[in-house]
Point group: C3
Chain length 339, copies 3
C-alpha cells in the first residue's frame, strides 16, 4: 500500500505543507520512523526529535509546524487524524460475507444475508446475527443470543445463551461473555450454587479485549453501556453496570452488583469491590483498590510508590507500626505542651 | 415460564402468606423487580424498600414478614431458598445426551452412554467421560484425561492430558487446566525448561470460572479439593493444593507449591506467593498480597485505602520516609525525656 | 516407564553412588516421594528430611552426598539435572506429524512437510508453518502469520494475522497473540478507535502461558525477545518490548510502549505502566506497581505487608494521615529545639 502525501491530505481534508508527490508507505512513531513513512508529533515537547527523524513527512498542529523542515500535514488534532490515517494502511483481513462450510449453524438461528461466519464456529438455536456481522473462526454463539449490526467477533470468542450484543461491537479472541456469576450461599461451609439466570446486555460501539470475561447476572442483567472500551483480561462480575463511554484498562477486576458511572477512566489492574457506586467522570489510577463508593468525580488512588527493596522493607515495617506512631506522636505533643 | 406463588410454596415446602394464585414470571432484586416478579429480602435493613417495591411477592424470614403488605414466602434462610427458586426459572439450555457429528473422538476414548458432546469438540485417546457428563462445543479433552459423573464443561474449555476432574464439576469457557507450570532453571541467565510431568487432580463439586488457569505440577500433582469454587481468571500455580470448600474470587493469582487450607475465603485480585502454607478458615481481603505463611484462622489484609489523588501523593511520600519518621520519633522521645 | 538408576546415570553422565540396578518409576519431591521414585535435594537445609524419605534414590551435590544412606546421583547442579531427568519420565503426547482431516487450511498457507496440525484448527491464507511445528486442536492461525521451526502450540491458541513467532516457542492454551492494542482517542468523551496496524514479533525459545495476551502495536511492533518466559494470564500492551531472557510470572500486566530490559525477573501480579523504560537485570517483587522508569539494576517493590485485619485498619488510617504526621513531627522538632 503506497499513497502520496497529497492523496492523504485530500482524502482526509488536511492542510499540506511541502511536496504532495512524496510517496508514503506507512506510519510509524517519531523515533522509529524509516524513510518513506509518515510520523506524528503528538506533543510539542518532542519537537526536538524532528531534526533527527527519518520520516518522509509528519502530522502536527499549526503551532508546531512553524520551522519544521519535513513536509507536513497540519491539523488541530493530530491524534484524531492518526486514527483516520492508520485506517488507510490497515491490512486486517476483510470479511468475505460467506458462511464457512464447516460452521455448525442451528436451523433456527436467524442469520442476515451479508454475515461472515468463520470455520469451525458453532451457532446455537434461536441465535440472531444482524446485517454485517462478522464472526471469526472457532467461536461459540449460545442459544438465543443476539449480535447487532456490524459487530465483529475475532476467533475463539464464547458467548453464552441469551446474551445481547449491540451494534458495531469489536470482541477479541478468548473473550467470554455470559458465564455464570460467582454466586454461592454457604450452608455450614458447603456451597450451594445460586443459578445465574439473568444475562449480559452490551450496548453499541463497545470494544471488548482478549480474554476479558463478563458474567451473567443472578437478579438483574449485567449491563455494559454504549461506547464502553474494555481492554484485555478485564473481569466484570454479575449484575454490575458500566456507564457509557467508560474505558477500563487491562487486568482490572470488578466485582458484582457495582454501578460504575459514565466517562470514567479506570487504570490497569485496578480492583473494585462489589455493591458500590462510582460517580461519572471518576479516574482511578493503575492498581488501586476501590473498596468504597465514590460520589465525586476526580482522580483516586491507593497503594504505595515503587522503592528499592531495602528501603521498602523499612517502610513496610513503619507501615505496620503506624497505629503506634500516631500514639507516640500524641504522647510527645502532650508532654511538650506542658509548661 | 409462569408459576403461581402457591406452586412455588408447595414445590419448595415454604410457608405462604397471601394469595396463592398470584402468577410469578420470574425473580428480581428488591429495587429492580417489576410487577409479576418475585423478590427477596436478604437483609432486614432493606425492609424500608418493600413499600415502594413493585414485585408481586417477596421471600423473607419470619421476623421480617410481620407487617409486610406483599404476599410472602417465609423461610428461615431466604438466600438458600433463592438458590432453589432461581433454579425453577433457569432457562439454561438442557443437555441433549447426543454426540455431535462434528466432534472428533478418539476410538480409544471411553464415553458413557448418556454423555452430551458439543460440535467441534476434540477428545483424545484414552480419555474417559463418565455418566451424565456434558462437554460444550469447541472443547479439547487431552489424552487419558478423566471427567467424572455429571460434570459439565461450557464451550471452549481446554483440558490437557492426564487430568482428573471429579463429579459434578462446572467448568466455564476459556478455562485451561493442565498447562505446564512455570518452571525453569537458569543456566547463566538462559532458561532451561523443567518438564512438568505431574498432573492436576480436581475433587468433586468444584466450579471453575471463565479463563481460569490451573497448571500441572512438576514434582507432585496440583490438587483442588472437593467443593472448591474458583471465580473467573484465577491462576493456580504448579503443585499447589487448595483445601476443600475454599472459595477464591476473580483474578486471584496463586503461585506454585503453596498449600491453602479448607473453608478459606480469598478475595478478588489477591496475590499469594509460592511455597507457603495458609491455615483453614483464613479470610484474605481483596487485592492483598500474601507473602508469608498464615498459621492462624482469621482475616488478613494488605495495601492501603483509596484516597483522592493529591492527598494520596502526600501519603506515598510519607510512606517512603517511614524509616526516617521512626528515627525522628525516637530522637524526639529521647530528647524530651531528658530532665 | 521404568529405568534403572544405572541407566539414568549413564544417559546423563552422572556419578552414581550405590546400587545401579535399583528400578526407578518416576520422580517426586523430597517429602512426597514413594518407594521406587527418585527425589532431589536442592537445598542443604533440607538434608534433615533425607532420613525419613521413602525415595529409592536421591540426586544431590557432592557436599550433601557425604553420609547419605540412599543411593545417590551426584552432580554440581541438581536443579539442572532435574530438567534432564524429568524429560525421561515425560508422558506428554508426542506429535504425530500429521494434518488432521478436520483442520481447515488455506490453499495458500505454506506448511512444511513434517508439521503436526490438530483437529478443528483453522489456518488462514499465506500463513507459514516451518519444519517441526506442532499446532494443537482448535487453534486459529491468522493470515500471513509465521510460526518458526519446532514451535509448539497447545489446543485453542489464537494468533491474529501477520504475527511472527520464532523457533522453539511453546504457546499454551487460551493464549491470544496479536489482538488490537487498547488505543482510542477521545473526541468529547466519545472514543475513536486507533487502528492497530503493526504486529507482534516473538523471538526464539519463548514460552507463553495459558490465557496470556500480547497485543499488536499501533506505531511499532510489540517485540518479545529471545528466551523470554511468560507465565499464565500475563498481559503485554501494544508496542511494548521485552528484552531477551526476561521471565515474567503469572497475572502481570504491562501497559503499552514500555521497554523492559534483558534478564529481568518480574514477579506475579505486577503492574507496569506505559511509556517507561526498565533496565536490564531488574527484579520486581510480586504485586508491585512500577509507575516510573528504573535505570539501575536491582530489586524493587511497592505495596505493604500482610497484617491481621484489625491492625491493618489502624495502619491504613495512619497511612492516610502521613502528610499530617510529617507536619506534626516537624512542629515537635521545632518546638523541642527551642532553648
Amino acid at each position: 500500500m503506497i499513497l502520496t502525501l497529497g492523496d492523504i491530505a485530500q482524502r482526509l481534508d488536511l492542510e499540506l505543507k511541502g511536496d504532495a508527490s512524496i510517496r508514503i508507505s506507512g506510519i510509524a512513531n517519531l523515533l522509529g520512523a524509516e524513510p518513506g513513512q509518515l510520523t506524528f508529533l503528538f506533543n510539542s515537547n518532542h519537537k526536538k526529535y524532528l531534526s533527527g527523524c527519518k520520516a518522509a513527512a509528519v502530522v502536527l498542529c499549526e503551532s508546531d509546524a512553524e520551522g519544521c523542515k519535513l513536509p507536513c500535514l497540519v491539523t488541530p488534532r493530530p491524534r484524531l487524524e492518526w486514527a483516520r490515517i492508520a485506517a488507510l494502511f490497515d491490512t486486517s483481513p476483510a470479511p468475505n460475507h460467506k458462511i464457512h462450510s464447516t460452521a455448525v449453524i442451528s436451523p433456527t438461528a436467524m442469520i442476515a444475508g451479508d454475515v461472515t461466519i468463520g470455520a469451525q464456529t458453532v451457532i446455537e438455536a434461536g441465535a440472531r446475527l444482524d446485517s454485517g456481522v462478522v464472526i471469526g473462526a472457532g467461536c461459540f454463539i449460545g442459544q438465543s443470543t443476539v449480535v447487532g449490526t456490524n459487530s465483529r467477533l475475532a476467533a475463539n470468542v464464547s458467548l453464552y445463551h441469551e446474551i445481547i450484543i449491540g451494534s458495531n461491537a469489536i470482541i477479541h479472541s478468548g473473550a467470554v461473555i455470559g458465564a455464570d456469576g460467582f454466586g454461592f450461599e454457604s450452608d455450614n461451609g458447603v456451597w450451594t450454587k445460586i443459578p445465574q439466570i439473568y444475562s449480559v446486555h452490551i450496548g453499541d460501539d463497545v470494544e471488548i479485549g482478549a480474554c476479558t470475561t463478563i458474567d451473567r447476572g443472578a437478579l438483574n442483567h449485567t449491563c455494559i453501556g454504549d461506547g464502553v472500551k474494555l481492554d484485555n483480561q478485564v473481569q466484570i462480575g454479575h449484575g454490575t453496570t458500566i456507564g457509557h463511554n467508560t474505558a477500563i484498562s487491562g487486568c482490572t477486576a470488578i466485582a458484582g452488583s457495582t454501578r460504575i458511572g459514565a466517562y470514567c477512566l479506570i487504570g490497569g489492574a485496578v480492583g473494585i469491590v462489589d455493591n458500590i457506586q462510582i460517580a461519572d467522570r471518576v479516574e482511578i489510577t493503575a492498581m488501586s483498590l476501590v473498596s468504597r463508593s465514590i460520589e465525586e468525580k476526580g482522580r483516586y488512588s491507593s497503594g504505595t510508590g515503587l522503592m528499592p527493596g531495602r528501603s521498602w522493607k523499612r517502610s513496610i515495617v513503619g507501615f505496620a507500626r503506624l497505629g503506634e506512631i500516631l500514639k507516640r506522636l500524641r504522647a510527645l505533643e502532650r508532654r511538650t505542651k506542658q509548661p
